[in-house]
């Protein structure tokens, strides 16, 4: 019973940790916009946490610059399982307009497994909500898989 | 009259304290401590004084009726106190030597590594 309750709570209280790997701040702003009264992601229990240790969902924005690559990998390792990795915007998936630069390591999939990709440059807050919602569901599934 | 003794002892104590407070030289501070000691010793020995009393030594042959001797206890106290005072002074002076070796000065205002 407790197991079920925990699994159910997983999708209802996902805490987000946001990693900016050299983003232009467009996506970052939209992510914050998601918490504003108009979109209010807190309805679903989303909360921005300040440290990866508290996080369930890691949101990556930015094209993963060479400088930030190690930090990203280290930070992701510090997130306790179950965790879901979400890429926000086009940059982490492809590098977007920075593609091919000597200082850009995108796509992020080279280092981590990405669970949900939210495309857009920047994504509309609704898309962010939809993406995070999907991530929360994946989180629950991962938890259920863990305890099986 | 013992009043002079008392006044003198208080003056000695005050002078000693004055020395300790105002003089920067460590040797002078130690001397000040000595002066305080002597003032107090004078005071103690004065408290036991009885005018016209003899030395407080039991000697049955010389003990005549009506004769009395000074209080022996303060004298014993004074002796003890002098011994202790001498110890303290010796200790203080030895510390001054050590201090001079470490700090190369006997100026109290320079010897202040421990502060705040």
């Amino acid at each position: 019973m407790l197991k079920n309750a925990i699994a159910k709570s997983m999708s209802r209280s996902p805490w987000i940790y946001h990693v900016n790997t050299g983003s232009c701040n467009g996506c970052d702003i939209e992510l914050v916009a998601v918490l504003t009264p108009r979109y209010d992601a807190e309805r679903f229990g989303f909360k921005l946490s300040g440290t990866p240790r508290h996080a369930d969902i890691v949101v990556i924005s930015g094209p993963v610059t060479t400088q930030s690559k190690d930090r990203l990998v280290r930070t992701l390792a510090q997130v306790p399982e179950p965790k879901v990795v979400v890429t926000l915007g086009s940059c982490p998936q492809s590098g977007n307009v920075f593609k091919g630069s000597y200082s850009v390591e995108a796509p992020v999939e080279k280092f981590v497994h990405v669970d949900v990709a939210i495309a857009g440059c920047t994504p509309k807050p609704e898309a962010v909500i939809a993406g995070l919602y999907k991530a929360a569901e994946i989180l629950q599934k991962k938890r259920e898989a863990m305890t099986k | 009259m013992m009043l002079v003794n008392y006044i003198a002892s208080v003056i000695l104590v005050v002078l000693g304290l004055y020395t300790i407070i105002t003089k920067k030289n460590l040797i002078k501070i130690v001397l000040g401590m000595g002066i305080v000691d002597y003032g107090i010793n004078l005071f103690i020995v004065s408290t036991g004084y009885n005018d016209g009393g003899t030395a407080p030594i039991y000697n049955m042959t010389e003990l005549v009726s009506g004769a009395y001797f000074v209080d022996p206890v303060p004298q014993a106290l004074t002796l003890t106190s002098i011994v202790i005072g001498a110890c303290v002074d010796a200790m203080a002076l030895s510390l001054v030597i050590k201090l001079y070796r470490q700090y190369k000065t006997v100026d109290a205002s320079e010897i202040r590594r421990l502060r705040g």
Binding site: R38, S90, G120, I129 | -
Partner: protein, 249 residues
């Protein structure tokens, strides 16, 4: 007042929240929102202009030789797209459109790639027979599905009805002496009519491959045939209609 928001906070408490009930009630994007790309391969003339103007290089093409021509596939990688809309602007055929679908969320990256393909038929020359080596066995005629070939062994004549021929190539494969073949087609290309040209240079501007050079001063028009991809943009954009597509020398 030390706390200017106290009144607002209290009045908000008793008023309706301004939150949109998003996942429950779908939200229409605002007009002119640039979202998911839709691509109509039928309209596409494979000019490649979109690919050229795309700054993040989100558009890729694949050309595959298939039966009946080249299969040309366009991939629009939404995870790489900046949604600037330049490709839409540059597409003369209106084959690309940025829709208002903003929900570009996927677990699998493939879901975020919009693709479309069409088969561009290959132009073949006419069927011809080298009658010098032909033995007029008639196998070709027998195998022709349309009955376009007529072989007369007696008169040693071999004829083909080009109207009926569908260029299926069965005859070629059946020929024992391998004397049948499609003729080399005349190379297609832009033909410059000359008469009436005002040397405006629109064709040069429209050319995605910059194959056309127009010099107004010397009234010269030249084309680099190697560069030309025969997209036909110059033809459609010519104001004086002096350009045409056709076989060239």
């Amino acid at each position: 007042m030390m706390f200017p928001f106290i009144r607002e906070a209290l009045s908000n408490l008793f008023s309706k929240p301004s939150t949109e009930a998003f996942p429950a009630a779908p939200v229409q994007a605002k007009p002119r929102y640039r979202g998911r790309i839709s691509y109509d391969p039928e309209k596409c003339i494979n000019c490649g202009m979109c690919k050229k103007v795309c700054s993040p290089g989100a558009i890729t093409t694949e050309i595959e030789e298939v039966e009946g021509g080249q299969k040309i596939t366009y991939h629009f990688d939404l995870t790489s797209c900046t949604f600037c809309g330049t490709c839409e602007d540059f597409c003369d055929e209106k084959a690309i459109k940025l829709t208002d679908d903003y929900l570009m969320v996927a677990e699998d990256k493939k879901d975020l790639i919009v693709s479309g393909s069409k088969i561009k038929p290959v132009v073949k020359g006419k069927l011809a027979c080298n009658t010098d080596s032909c033995i007029f066995c008639g196998l070709c005629a027998k195998n022709c599905p349309e009955g376009a070939i007529t072989v007369d062994r007696a008169t040693k004549s071999w004829t083909v009805d080009h109207e009926k021929c569908i260029q299926c190539g069965k005859c070629i494969s059946k020929c024992p002496k391998k004397v049948l073949a499609f003729e080399e087609p005349a190379p297609q290309g832009v033909i410059f009519g000359g008469e009436g040209c005002v040397y405006c240079g629109i064709c040069a501007k429209k050319c995605p491959e910059e194959a056309i050079t127009v010099d107004r001063a010397t009234k010269s028009w030249s084309i680099d045939r190697d560069k030309c991809i025969q997209c036909g943009k110059c033809v459609s954009s010519c104001p004086k209609k002096v350009l045409s597509m056709g076989p060239i020398e």
